[in-house]
Amino acid sequence: MVKRADAIVVGAGVVGAATAAALAESGRRVLVLEQGVPGGAVSGASLACIGTHMMDEEELPLLTWCCEAWAELDRRAPRFEYNRCGQLRFLRHENERRSAETWIGIERAAGLRPELLDPAEVQAIEPGLTGPIVAATWSPDSAVVNPFLAVRTLLDVARSGSADVVSGATVTALVTRGGRIAGVETSLGRFEASIVVIAGGPWTQRLAATADVELPIVPRKAQCLATVGTRPVIRTVVGACKAEGGVDAGYTQIQQAASGQVLFNTVLEGGVTATGSPEIVPEVDRAFVRDSVDTLLFLFPALAGLDLLRSWVRYEAVTPDDRFLTGPAGPEGLFVAAGDGGTGFVRSLGMARIIRDRIDGTTPPCRDDLYDVGRFAARAAA
């Protein structure tokens, strides 16, 4: 096993895998160290919708770039069930119309193509959606990918560019020498590299602290349900129209995987911010199960007799402004890419690109100051 590499990536979630692929492509010998199994934490539990709709106005250029990068990856390595199925965001009440129209305006101004549809137009796109909605927005460019296969594909890309992936290696501390990063200490011994990227999701802040780097990341509970596989009944990604207050104000996401399973979750107001430890993953809670099934059957009443098969819970990494912390941090040679805020799958390729450009000293395709690791400390000082 290589004990020395040009760059070490801690974590083989989608962010780590994408970073490893990007660094390997620019010619570095990369070592990916994963405490569990690749994709086994948040990434493998993801609904992995790749889209720009109702996300973050300032991030629109980056999100658009990311969507194109995913499409490009699919062209190069079509092995992760990439499906540009489009996305609907339903409105339950008239008073949501204003928010919908505002988002559509913002996105159209950025050159995107969302529109507002009445229930009959919605049914032409999504015939099974027969519930009493008042309207829905439609974003035709959104896609979904299979999250495990996406991680696997990115790691394959990394490996074809001479990266190594080690599963079951827990990084316990960062090693610095003369104020520079020199490597990491792991459960399998020490590994050396002059560049270390922590892409450790909700564990990132703990590892960063071993080099006295404080990161404002907290874990937030995310839950999901899956039915047994069934014939094709849902064609698009169906979500709730985004309300004021972001994720904390509640959300819904419903889609059907290539396996035929319907994957869905609904979190109503006040349900999401419950923090916890990524170590002790609990079961889904009762209210979450009720709200998720209730919403699914409100929209798709014909699914009432379908069997629920599985549930899961993960802790995702959240920052105070719901944006990633991506870029250099603390000692020279240390980089961070974490704090996904619940939609890090789509952003992962962009975060990887920012890390690569920072290391290579090249110019990123979109502004990267939004993700500056020191932004909160800088704001507090100002």
Binding site: V37, S167, G305, L308, R310, S311
Partner: protein, 463 residues
């Protein structure tokens, strides 16, 4: 939606669950028992769905259910537990709709299920587990075939032979991996209580014309149904010697299995501590021998879920768990200490016998080598061994990693069928132990449940 508050909730209506319920009710507790079967009895005491009890086992089971009902145990048959939530809440899906229980103490007596290892041809019609064959014979008196081969290992094969003989369907062939002959006889000789049963089983085995010891079935052959099997001997170093295979034709049913696995779904969901021992079925729930207490206060386990040992220890450990659960709620009968001491002593003997028997019939270490790259391992998701190997060499690890990358264990049965095989394959491929390979943790729902039932069960506020 029915909401039920009870002192002690028992999950499982086999020998362990019925004995636990009876003991707890006799101590004065309000007891509810949930069982998935249409009638209580579990595996060993499985009742005939139409006729009256026709065997000693069925009569015993019917008597145990009557005694429990007479002691005021409420039995909810045909109800599957699918969720456990904090605040001591259990949700089940019953024949008349959802049931919600709030308990003070919970006794899990969920039993066991067949341990399966795939091999080429195992998905052909006519190939089934010994448990499934036993069920056909017990429930409708139906013979699984006319020329039956019984294969695998363990004393359960003899029980199936006896049941088949009882309905006039003595198997044509027995293919056993084990070679032990004297040791089982010596073990039985030390347990006089087992002599009658042993003689009956021995007679059933002797009635089988073609008996092979130290052989395994390496392949099932046939067009749209099994027609022949291929067998090979196990050599001295434990490897399966495929250079010396032999084809046996004229077979129309193959009953093949490797003993049982404890049904740990509910105890695992509740985060009770578990341990691994291949000889008692793999992962089992750790429980105190005298009380059935698990690592979680208020949760007890009894019977096969605590490690495969047979029906007698199941009954005894059930009674002990019932007594302890009641006592921990302050319900102590006058003869408490005396009864507990007697039961505990008998349990020790019975379990020692059951487990020693299990150790005399270990699953061959080389069993995973039977599976070829093209062999389907996970039937629900159509995952082949080659897919798992590719995933492991692609950088993933363990049962969990194999599942993420190949979907093995993600289908309708959630790994109940392929779990043993995936762990053994992962261990063999990566040079670890099946224990280190881990298992697929169960999640809500424990069994597939219709969405409208889920909604009804979770809709109203907590109890």
């Amino acid at each position: 939606m029915m909401r039920i508050e009870t002192d002690i909730l028992v999950v499982g209506g086999g020998p362990a669950g019925l004995s636990a319920a009876l003991a707890a009710a006799k101590a004065g507790a309000k007891v509810d028992l949930i069982d998935a079967g249409t009638q209580p009895g579990g595996q060993y005491w499985m009742q005939d769905p139409v006729g009256p009890p026709s065997t000693r086992q069925q009569a015993e089971g019917a008597a145990a259910a009557r005694a429990a009902i007479a002691a005021n145990v409420t039995i909810h048959s045909g109800a599957e537990v699918w969720a456990a939530f904090p605040e001591r809440e259990i949700l089940a899906n019953g024949p008349a709709g959802p049931l919600a229980f709030r308990y003070r103490a919970l006794i899990v007596a969920s039993g066991a299920y067949d341990r399966v290892m795939p091999f080429p041809g195992w998905t052909l019609p006519g190939v089934m587990t010994p448990g499934a064959g036993q069920r056909l014979a017990k429930l409708g008196g139906t013979a699984p075939g006319r020329r039956i081969a019984l294969a695998g290992n363990g004393p359960f094969l003899y029980a199936v032979a006896a049941t088949l003989r009882g309905i006039g369907a003595t198997p044509a062939m027995l293919v056993e991996a084990g070679t032990a002959r004297c040791a089982p006889a010596r073990l039985v000789s030390r347990h006089p209580a087992r002599w009658a049963e042993a003689l009956q089983l021995l007679a059933a085995v002797r009635a089988i014309r073609d008996r092979r010891r130290g052989f395994v079935v390496t392949e099932a052959l046939g067009g749209d149904r099994v027609q022949a099997i291929r067998i090979a001997p196990i050599s001295h170093d434990g490897a399966i010697d495929t250079t010396r295979t032999e084809t046996i034709s004229g077979i129309d049913a193959l009953l093949i299995g490797w003993g049982f696995r404890p049904m740990i779904e509910l105890t695992a969901l509740l985060r009770c501590r578990h341990a691994y021992d291949r000889d008692v079925g793999g992962w089992y729930c750790s429980a105190d021998a005298e009380t059935g207490r698990t690592s979680i206060p208020g949760i007890y386990a009894a019977g096969e879920v605590t490690g495969i040992a047979g029906a007698a220890p199941a009954r005894l450990s059930g009674a002990l768990a019932g007594i302890a659960a009641a006592a921990d709620l302050g319900l102590v009968t006058s003869d408490f200490a005396h009864r507990r001491a007697i039961l505990a002593r008998r349990l020790q003997t019975a379990r020692a016998f059951g487990q020693a028997l299990g150790r005399l019939y270990p699953v061959p270490e080389s069993i995973a080598t039977l599976v070829c790259d093209e062999t389907i391992v996970c039937r629900c998701e159509d995952v082949r061994k080659g897919d798992i190997r590719a995933a492991l060499s692609g950088g993933t690890k363990g049962v969990a990693g194999a599942k993420l990358w190949t979907r093995a264990g993600m289908g309708r049965c959630q790994g109940r069928i392929c779990g043993f095989a995936v762990a053994e394959i992962v261990a063999a491929e990566t040079g670890t132990s099946p224990e280190a390979a881990g298992f697929n943790p169960p999640r809500i729902p424990l069994r597939p449940v219709p969405l409208n039932v889920v909604l009804a069960g979770t809709r109203e506020g907590a109890l």
